[in-house]
Amino acid sequence: MNDIAVRIEGVGKRYRIGQRESYKTLRDTLTNAVGAPFRRLSSIARRSSADNQRGVARGEYIWALRDISFDLKHGEVLGVIGRNGAGKSTLLKILSRITRPTEGYAEIHGRVGSLLEVGTGFNPELTGRENIYLNGAVLGMKKAEIDRKFDEIVAFAEVEQFIDTPVKRYSSGMYMRLAFAVAAHLEPEILIVDEVLAVGDAEFQKKCLGKMGDVAKGGRTVLFVSHNLLAIENLCEQVIWLKNGEIARQGSPGQVISNYLQSSISPSTERVWSGLATAREKIRLQCVRLRPSDGTASVPITVHTAFALEFEYWNFDPTAYVSVSFCMYNEHDILLFDICPPFDPDWRQKPSPIGLLRSICHIPGDFLNDGLHRVDLIILRNHVPVILEPQALVFHIQDTLEERAGWYGEWPGAIRPMLTWETNLSLSPRPTTGDVV
């Protein structure tokens, strides 16, 4: 019992549709009040449901969250994923005590620090120094605590020279860095974080991720919402996938994320770009296709299946040398390889023929690992990319259970080649008499 940090049982949140947008005016309430007795009478006459049930019957309510239950132990890092509108933010708002649940029960052991955005309470008129104190206080830090961490925060944000300048004169990058720096130095027992990693330039994002990693590995309880699946996978021990306000899946990051990706992208083995090619467009992508090499049209593709990726494209430019290149990514967004056809002396300095061209790349079996894969395609004209088609094809490679030998965990590694092994007996112990019969 003592090691539970957050326990949630059957939590749900119902919103009235459009509630956030429309404020009542006194006039509306008055007219409603005047009209109510008549409506009440007519509703009795029509034997409709009770007054507060009316909205439900008319579908004026929407459940942003329904029946959410989970436990989070102290020191655990939980990731929450899901599409926009799946209820992630509502869940964080309930746990941050910003809004109350409509039903259910939750208990939180420890102080909660919530970062639903960076820079809450920042005032553009105030200086960097003043905003650090203000924002710190808003986030729940004590003044003594801010005093102690002040230099660290300023150094982290890299705004030493501008600390006494009003933040309205800051660049947006500086502003974000300062805001994140304050947030990053918050030290509650339970930290609730929403998408704060999506700030600043690439270098600062790296720094933020590093800081998040420190926090996560520092024994703190963290509840973390992000669209950055790689960050979720690296930082979290447990992942919840929310779908339409309910928990679609819950478990280890690898499993849940791959399930989530599978549902969000529908795999296919062929994609055709519609519309006839016209001569006005000099180069045009026609089709990308995946075909098993043994000629069977049937999928599934397993880890053993050799297959070919075919790219068909039109060329109407008599002067162009057209070629293709593609990148293969796995479901963790890791680039497996970036490949183009090897240099062909026959085509050297010569323009490509006019018409429908087809390039085929043969991918051996026992090479790629199982899971979702995606192909980002580039078509080049005289070595300059002219068509970029990210996610030109997304396909799934299935695992076979033959060599699993009863183990069902995720097979680690970006690729899964079948390599040649040898096992020999190179030295045998001298047999002792009586032992071997």
Binding site: N2, K93, P101, I108, H109, R111, G121, L134
Partner: protein, 296 residues
Amino acid sequence: MTAPEQATSRISVDAHNDIPMTAALPVTILRPSRGWVPLNLREMWEYRELLYFLAWRDIKVRYKQTVLGAAWAIIQPFFTMVVFSIFFGELAGIPSGGVPYPIFAYSALVPWMYFANALTQASNSLVGQEHMITKVYFPRLIIPMASVLAGLVDFAISFAVLVGMMLFYGIMPMAAIWTLPLFILLATATALGVGVWLSALNVQYRDVRYVVHFLVQFWLFATPIAYPSSLVPERWRAIYGLNPMAGVVEGFRWALLGQAQAPGPLLVVSVLTVIGVLTSGLYFFRRMEETFADVV
């Protein structure tokens, strides 16, 4: 990371962890609300630093954005006093109970301006801080409270001018001056009491913004600022105390200028009224509080 590695690193981290896992952690229970909720003053106390920072921010920002800055705290009551002195004091000849009319009016305008500004700021405070309400949790009462407290700085500045005027007119405060902080407290409580009512209503009904404007104008004339309360018939005097600002203004004049007798029954009624308004306001606010983030 392999499993054993992870386990060892977790143990070493725990050893250096400054969070005492054994110490009793505060437990928060979240559940759907049912009606009235207690005030939870202890939590308010825990957030006192935020109250200070928000009030401090209000003051700082106000002065940074204005050209004249703190001078506004003097200009407003001072020029109102000049106008009152000309029209009510000179032309209408309203009695001022033995003291020069300018100081008679100004000694009432100082607490009045504080009250009027604090009430206006507090009423619009929640709507103005919408952004914070939807993004972070803290007791929402802090917001109108900070607005009311921030007004005390302007009050202090305009009060300094009052002291200057007293020296100019050679009016010495009586022994009753020690009661002055009590009347300041009464004005603060009135502004807060009405302010929490209106700020919570403002979240639901944006009409409140206009109501406040109107209310303050009305209230000005219902308070003995331009005229002495002695104009009100004796038997109505206690009922007049239902306007707590009447008690505040009478108290100020009594404590500073040594005017007339101590405001007895009127003051008692005023204090009771304020206690009623403030208590009901706080409970009403607490009840509405949880819907703020959904509605604002």
